[in-house]
C-alpha cells in the first residue's frame, strides 16, 4: 500500500490534461500524477524511461514500488469527470483506493472499470497512514466478498458497498449488457414518455 497524504487530490493532478488527447483507453499509468512524479514537464509520446523522476514523490520511493492499494485523504478525485483518472490509477497497478471520502463522479467511474474505491472513517484512515509510514512493506488484505480491510496485526475494518455494484464487480459483468436485458422496459418507458412530452422527440 502507498500513502498519498494530501486532501482534495483532483483529477487534473491524477492525470494532467495533455494526456487526455489520447483516443485510447490504455497507457495512462506512466503519466499518473505526472506533475508531481517527474521533475520535467510531461507531454504525450515522451519515453518515460528517459524522464527525470522526482525522488521525493511518494510513489517513487523504493518501498512503495508495486503497491496495489492507494491510501488517500478526503475528497479524492474531485474536479473533472475524466475517466482517464481511474484508468491511469488502474493502468499503474492500483486495484483499490482507500479514502475518508471521494468526489461523486470519480467514485462512480471507478466501479465502471473495476477499480474499488473504499470509504473508511477518518480515524481509521489516520491509523492506516501512521502504520504504513512506520512499516516498510506494509500490506493490507482487502476482501470484497467479505467487505473488509485487514491490517497485518489482524485488525479489521468493514466497508459498505452497494449490493448491485458488488455483484457486478465480483462477477466482472458488463453493465451495458445487463441494462439491455431491460430493453422492453426501456422501450415501454420511451413510448409513455413520448406521449407525455412529445417535444422531447423531435
Amino acid at each position: 500500500m502507498a500513502p498519498l497524504d494530501r486532501a482534495n487530490v483532483d483529477t487534473d493532478a491524477i492525470i494532467p490534461k495533455q494526456f487526455l488527447k489520447s483516443i485510447k483507453r490504455s497507457g495512462f499509468g506512466q503519466n499518473l500524477f505526472d506533475e508531481w512524479r517527474y521533475l520535467d514537464h510531461g507531454e504525450p509520446g515522451m519515453d518515460a524511461a528517459r524522464r527525470k523522476p522526482n525522488p521525493d514523490f511518494i510513489l517513487n520511493l523504493a518501498r512503495y514500488q508495486g503497491a496495489q492499494i492507494l491510501l488517500a485523504r478526503s475528497n479524492f478525485g474531485c474536479g473533472s469527470s475524466r475517466e482517464h483518472a481511474p484508468w491511469a490509477l488502474q493502468d499503474y497497478g492500483f486495484q483499490v483506493v482507500i479514502a475518508p471520502s471521494f468526489a461523486d463522479i470519480f467514485f462512480n467511474n471507478c466501479f465502471k472499470i473495476g477499480l474499488l474505491p473504499i470509504v473508511l472513517d477518518v480515524a481509521d484512515v489516520d491509523q492506516l497512514f501512521t502504520e504504513v509510514e512506520a512499516t516498510a512493506g506494509y500490506r493490507l488484505l482487502v476482501d470484497l466478498q467479505d467487505q473488509s480491510v485487514t491490517t497485518p496485526s489482524g485488525k479489521s475494518f468493514s466497508f459498505d458497498i452497494d449490493p448491485f455494484r458488488k455483484h457486478t464487480l465480483l462477477n466482472g459483468l458488463d453493465e451495458i449488457g445487463l441494462t439491455l436485458q431491460h430493453m422492453d422496459k426501456i422501450k415501454a418507458f420511451e413510448e409513455k414518455h413520448r406521449a407525455a412530452q412529445p417535444w422531447l422527440f423531435t
Binding site: R6, N8, D12, K24, R73, R82, E83, I105, H182
Partner: protein, 469 residues
C-alpha cells in the same frame, strides 16, 4: 409534496434494481451532449461490441476543448489534438449524429451551446462526459457529468444506472449588491461549505436573489455546483426560464410549445417540500470574491487578506494551505487587492455568455489594460455569442482596451490547446477551477467574476469592481 429533484427523478425511472430507496435505478436520459475528449473510447467500445446508438436525435456533439482560438482556417497544429477532433467528426458522420463542426457559427463550449440552441429544455435529464454539465440544471433539468463508460452506456441504452442523491436547498434571500454576480454567490457558497460540502447532494438554488437572476447568471451558478462537490445544481422554472427558451432552434413550436410550457411551469419544488439539508446566504452580504489558493474553497472577499496558515490548528488543513500559498507564490496576510495578475482570461462555460461579456466590456470601456498585464483575452463561449457581441460593438471595446478577441472554445480554462499560462504566471480568470497546473504547468489561477477580471486588467491588480462600475 416533492422537491424539484424528486420530480425530475421520478419522471425518468425505467427500472429499479432493488426496492430499497438507496438502490441502483435505471434512469432514462433525454439529452446526451458529446465532446471530443471523453467520447472516443466510448464510440470505440460501442463499435467493438457491435452496438448502435439507441436514439440519435437525443445526441448533440461539438468539439470545444482542443480547438484553437486563433486562425481557425489554419486548422489544428497539434497532431494529437487534431486526431481527437477528427475522430469526433468521423464518429458523428458515420453514425449520423448532429455535430457543430469547428467552422460552424454555432460551434462553442458544449455547456454554452446546449441552452443557446434550446437543446436543453426543462424537465429533461441531460448528461455529458463533462463535470460542468451541472450548468444545464439552470433550466430545471436533472443535468450531471458522467465518465466515458457511462457515455457508452447512454449511447447504447439511452439509460444510466444511478443512485439517488440527497437534496440540498441553497436559499439566497434578499438582493445582490450593485456589481455582485452569480459568480460571487458561487464562490461565497463554496467558501462556506467547502469543495466537498455538496458531495452526495443535488443542490437546488432558491430564494428571492435567485429569482432575480437572468438565465445566464443561473447557468453560472449551476455550473459551479460541481465545484461545491454536488454533481447536479438546479433552479425551478419561472417566466425568466420560459422567456429565454422561446424561439430557440431546438425548442418546441406552436401547439407543442404551449403544451410544453404548461408542463414546465410545474417544475419547481412544492411549497413545504423537505430537503435533506438547507443552507441560507444573505445576498446583501456577498462581496466580490477572489480565490487565493489551489482549490475553489480557498477564497476571500476583495477587502480581505491571504490567510495565515500558522493560525490554523487542523494539521491537514494547515499543510494544504502552506502548500497552496507556496504554489501560488503568496505570503500570508497579503491584502487581496495587492495581488497583481500577469494575464487576464475572460471565458469558459462559467462566464463566457453574452451577459458576461457585456459586464466586462462596461468595465473596460474607454480604459486600457495596465502595463504589467502581458496578455488579456476574451474567448466567447460560442460562435453565436461572439457574433452577438460583435453586433453590439463589444469586440471593439475590448480591442481598444488592449484585449485579444478570440474564437470560441474552452481555451485557457484548461489549456488543452495553445492558450496557457507559463510557469509562475498569475492569471485573473473567469473560469471555474484553480487547481495546480490547470491553466498550464506552474500557472497560478485566481477565480473571479467577469467584472472583477476586467477591473484587474485595467488596474493591474485586483480591485473592487464596484469602485469602477
Amino acid at each position: 409534496m416533492h422537491t424539484l429533484y424528486d420530480k425530475l427523478w421520478q419522471s425518468h425511472v425505467v427500472h429499479e434494481e432493488s426496492n430499497k430507496p438507496d438502490g441502483m435505478t435505471l434512469l432514462y436520459i433525454d439529452r446526451h451532449l458529446v465532446h471530443e475528449v471523453t467520447s472516443p473510447q466510448a464510440f470505440e467500445g460501442l463499435k467493438l461490441a457491435g452496438r448502435k446508438p439507441w436514439r440519435l436525435d437525443s445526441i448533440l456533439a461539438v468539439a470545444d476543448h482542443n480547438v484553437p482560438t486563433t486562425r481557425r482556417d489554419y486548422g489544428i497544429s497539434d497532431p494529437i489534438s487534431r486526431l481527437q477532433v477528427e475522430t469526433l467528426d468521423q464518429n458523428c458522420e458515420e453514425l449520423g449524429i448532429t455535430e457543430f463542426r469547428m467552422n460552424d457559427l454555432r460551434q462553442g463550449i458544449v455547456h454554452v451551446i446546449g441552452p443557446e440552441q434550446g437543446a436543453t429544455l426543462p424537465g429533461m435529464t441531460v448528461v455529458c462526459g463533462d463535470s460542468h454539465t451541472s450548468t444545464h440544471g439552470a433550466f430545471a433539468c436533472l443535468a450531471f457529468g458522467i465518465g466515458t463508460s457511462e457515455v457508452e452506456h447512454v449511447l447504447a441504452t439511452q439509460c444510466l444506472l444511478l443512485k439517488k442523491a440527497k437534496t440540498m436547498r441553497v436559499a439566497i434571500e434578499g438582493h445582490l449588491g450593485h456589481g455582485i454576480t452569480a459568480k460571487d454567490i458561487a464562490l461565497a457558497l463554496i467558501g462556506e461549505i467547502g469543495t466537498a460540502g455538496g458531495t452526495g447532494y443535488a443542490i437546488e438554488f432558491a430564494g428571492s436573489a435567485i429569482r432575480e437572476l437572468s438565465m445566464e447568471a443561473r447557468m453560472t451558478l449551476c455550473n459551479m455546483a460541481i465545484e461545491a462537490g454536488a454533481r447536479a445544481g438546479m433552479v425551478g422554472v419561472d417566466d425568466t426560464t420560459v422567456d429565454y427558451l422561446r424561439g430557440r432552434p431546438f425548442a418546441p413550436k406552436g401547439d407543442l410549445w404551449d403544451k410544453a410550457v404548461v408542463y414546465w411551469r410545474t417544475l419547481k419544488s412544492d411549497e413545504g417540500a423537505s430537503f435533506d439539508k438547507t443552507i441560507s446566504l444573505d445576498a446583501a452580504q456577498i462581496k466580490p470574491q477572489i480565490t487565493w489558493g489551489t482549490s475553489p474553497e480557498m477564497v476571500a472577499a476583495i477587502d480581505g487578506k491571504v490567510p495565515d496558515p500558522s493560525q490554523i490548528t487542523d494539521i491537514v488543513k494547515r499543510h494544504d494551505m502552506e502548500r497552496a500559498l507556496k504554489y501560488m507564490g503568496l505570503a500570508p496576510n497579503t491584502p487581496i487587492s495587492e495581488i497583481r495578475p500577469d494575464k487576464i482570461f475572460i471565458g469558459s462555460c462559467t462566464n463566457a455568455r453574452i451577459e458576461d461579456l457585456r459586464i466586462a466590456a462596461k468595465v473596460v470601456k474607454g480604459r486600457h489594460i495596465a502595463s504589467n498585464i502581458k496578455l488579456a483575452m476574451v474567448v466567447p463561449g460560442s460562435g453565436l455569442v461572439k457574433h452577438q457581441a460583435e453586433q453590439e460593438g463589444l469586440d471593439k471595446i475590448f480591442r481598444e482596451a488592449g484585449f485579444e478577441w478570440r474564437e470560441p472554445g474552452c481555451s485557457m480554462c484548461l489549456a488543452m490547446n495553445d492558450d496557457r499560462l507559463e510557469s509562475g504566471e498569475r492569471c485573473a480568470s473567469t473560469s471555474n477551477r484553480n487547481f495546480e497546473g490547470r491553466q498550464g504547468p506552474g500557472g497560478r489561477t485566481h477565480l473571479v467574476s467577469p467584472g472583477m477580471a476586467a477591473a484587474a486588467a485595467v488596474a493591474g491588480h485586483f480591485v473592487d469592481v464596484r469602485e469602477i462600475y
